[in-house]
Amino acid sequence: MNIFRLFNKQRSAPLARERLQVLLAHERASSGSDLVAVLREEILAVIAKHVELDSDRVQVKMDRDENVSILEIDVEIPLNASRQAA
């Protein structure tokens, strides 16, 4: 019975690891730090001066590593807005 279960039951640790990685990537980006929120607002303001954009389509993400942090800024510019800018 024991051996049978050993082969059939899916190991749970890899799932825990995956869930945490997804969750924490999201949490670090949103509520994680004030810095990200401030950066998001200011970057948004600068870009909005030149192109029309949807504030929901701007993503600012901070990935923390032992030695470096990566700031990822993802701005989606609608097609008509970019034409206006050009």
Binding site: A13, P14, A16, R17, L20, L23, E27, R28, S33
Partner: protein, 271 residues
């Protein structure tokens, strides 16, 4: 000037108080002057784990409010003469902890002790943020379990933003202390492995404390585990962690199997 360590985790029940007592006693056994400070105002327990609950007269709040001198509130350990405890108040609430008061107490303690170890309350409220505020080094206590890892991640974020070090633009030294680790379950794939937790939290490893009945036994007796039984597996791991805190560069022992509870630790290079 002594070094200030905060033992923190976010989540409750992961082993902050146990680890504070064990690391404090381990450092004191290296002939260094150590004080362990309980920041859990209203729910103090470090006194109980240290076996000094009947000797508490004055506490941290009394000192902050000027009702007692710092030297009156410090309790010397009966077993180790260079180990002291500064208890938290059981009757007051955490609002009595003022930032100025805490700063003064920590600065005074730093003058007389080599190590000031602050036992943080669970959560991210006032008590927890004040416990970490003046720290030079943070020990993040984590269980290999999803909710504990998530809360540790949150605490790491606070350590990097809300502490004096962070505000001065300096880098807060953070270490992971993985507690209640069961090598056999991790091996079977039913518990997060050391490398999983390290990869997710990306802070250096201070030590791995194996799940063990010796820890409960020690708290029943009112002694830090490193004093109750210096040769059991968790104690050996705490002694190792203490050596690493003191600056020694030694490999981390990973408890691989259930046998490790009997003290058979297989030393292996970690991270």
């Amino acid at each position: 000037m002594g070094k200030v360590i905060v033992v923190t985790s976010g989540k409750g029940g992961v082993g902050k108080t146990t680890s504070t007592a064990a690391l404090g006693a381990a450092l004191a056994q290296r002939n260094e002057k150590v004080v362990v400070v309980d920041f859990d105002v209203g729910l103090r327990n470090l006194d109980l784990v240290m076996g000094a609950e009947r000797r508490v007269v004055y506490d941290l709040i009394n000192v902050i409010q000027g009702d007692a001198k710092l030297t009156q509130a410090l309790i010397r350990d009966k077993r180790l003469e260079n180990l002291f405890l500064l208890p938290a108040s059981q009757t007051r609430d955490k609002d009595n902890l003022t930032p100025e008061g805490v700063e003064w107490v920590i600065n005074e303690l730093k003058r007389y002790f080599d190590w000031v170890i602050c036992d943080s309350p669970a959560g991210i409220e006032r008590g927890a943020t004040l416990a970490m505020r003046h720290a030079d080094i943070a020990v993040v206590v984590t269980n290999p379990e999803v909710s504990s890892v998530r809360d540790s991640d949150r605490i790491i974020g606070l350590l990097d933003s809300k502490t004096m070090k962070a505000e001065r633009g300096e880098r807060m030294e953070k270490h992971l202390l993985l507690t209640r680790y069961d090598g056999a379950r991790a091996q079977r794939g039913d518990m997060l492995k050391v490398d999983d937790v390290l990869e997710i939290l990306s802070i250096p490893l201070l030590g791995i404390i194996p799940e063990s009945t010796d820890v409960l036994r020690a708290s029943n007796l009112g002694a830090p585990v490193t004093l109750a039984d210096a040769r059991c597996a968790p104690s050996l791991a705490y002694f190792e962690a203490a050596r690493r805190l003191a600056g020694e560069d030694i490999p981390v022992s990973i408890p691989e199997e259930k046998r490790s509870i009997l003290g058979k630790i297989f030393a292996r290079r970690a991270a």
